[in-house]
Amino acid sequence: MELNKKVKIFGKQIPAVLLALVAMTALASAGLLSYYGKAVGTATVSQSVKLSATDGINTVTAEGDGAAIPFDINVFAGDPFKNGLADLDNDGDKDDQITYFELSNDASASANVKIPIISKDIDGDGKEELLNVDLVTYENGACTTTSLDSEITDGTYDVIVPAKGKGTVQFCVVGTFKLNTKPGTYQNAITIQVNTV
């Protein structure tokens, strides 16, 4: 390749090397966006599908910066858990029991979304500790034992969120830590991301 080669753009002679550099920079920025894209997307994209959590009185919605509903699970090994505690009344403490999570849709057409569940042990030994996490439907005022729509593979759910005015999808996060789970704190034990198909 000739380093001093120039290309004419809008009547100006631009070095080809400079143009190549611009293209590479653009690609690199796209690459970075794919890594940080989840945060960027939620902060800037107008969302039709909303994810929220409620205790029946207070509701928090995952939108804006961060776009996450943080919640705590306090459980004994071997015990089942359901949903968890979150700061639903916005008092700074995650002390409100979540009744159910909800997906709603502001668009005039239904939305098909995927919800992968990622369970991780980041307590230090590298072994995945959390098992049997499941999303079940919330119906008639209770979490059921019916899995939320179709579970595809690897704990990923394929969910259709009805169009605006046609209903919502209400669900619960349930699971059990094994009896022999090493006691400790497992951050990001459950991460649910809702993505378009």
């Binding site: 996450a68 030994d125 006691p183």
Partner: protein, 185 residues
């Protein structure tokens, strides 16, 4: 012609790079922090005077019963069959017991497990003082190794050999007699 191709190529790359950023879409996520404590086994006598009771996993007994023993005898509580699971951490046994004795004395609290081959393994043991006033006492001890092929977790309470009086242990719906496994910090 060659120059046009170069220009087209550059424009194409720019469009692709912008598009790849634009298709990112994401509606929200739920992030949990799980604080997991070791299992609690509640001692449960199903009748007064039993010498072998149950350990209920994370469930308190439904009624109050007592058992009385003398000298170096005792009472033993056993979990359900756990199927040979491994505990890949060194456990700390945290005991609680509601007990009284006819005179001031001492009982020994033993944390152990039976494996699938039928062998008994003592995890650790400790002792607490007793008196004529029924009270809830707590104590703990630490194991020295992980647990393999666990069939039953066992909480054994033994009297002091040579003690002339008797001991009475109570299990109740408050769950005052129990054993919790935690990890050695």
């Amino acid at each position: 012609m060659k120059r046009s191709l170069v220009m087209f190529g550059i424009a194409f790359l720019l469009v692709i790079s912008i598009a790849s950023a634009g298709v990112l879409n994401y509606y929200g996520k739920i992030i949990g922090t799980a604080n997991v404590q070791g299992p609690i086994f509640y001692a449960d006598l199903t009748a007064n005077g039993e010498t072998v009771g149950k350990l209920l996993l994370n469930t308190k007994p439904s009624a109050t019963y007592t058992t009385t023993f003398k000298d170096g005898a005792g009472v033993l509580f056993r979990s359900d069959n756990l199927g040979g699971i491994d505990f890949n951490y060194i456990p700390k046994c945290e005991f609680s017991i509601k007990v009284r004795s006819t005179e001031n004395s001492r009982v020994y609290l033993i944390c152990e497990y039976y494996d699938m081959s039928g062998s008994t393994h003592t995890i650790c043991q400790t002792s607490i003082s007793t008196s004529t006033i029924a009270g809830t006492k707590t104590a703990s001890c630490s194991g020295t190794s992980t647990l393999s092929s666990v069939k039953y977790i066992v909480y054994e309470i033994k009297g002091d050999i040579g003690f002339s009086g008797s001991y009475t242990v109570e299990t109740n719906p408050e769950g005052e007699t129990k054993l919790q496994l935690n990890k050695v910090s």
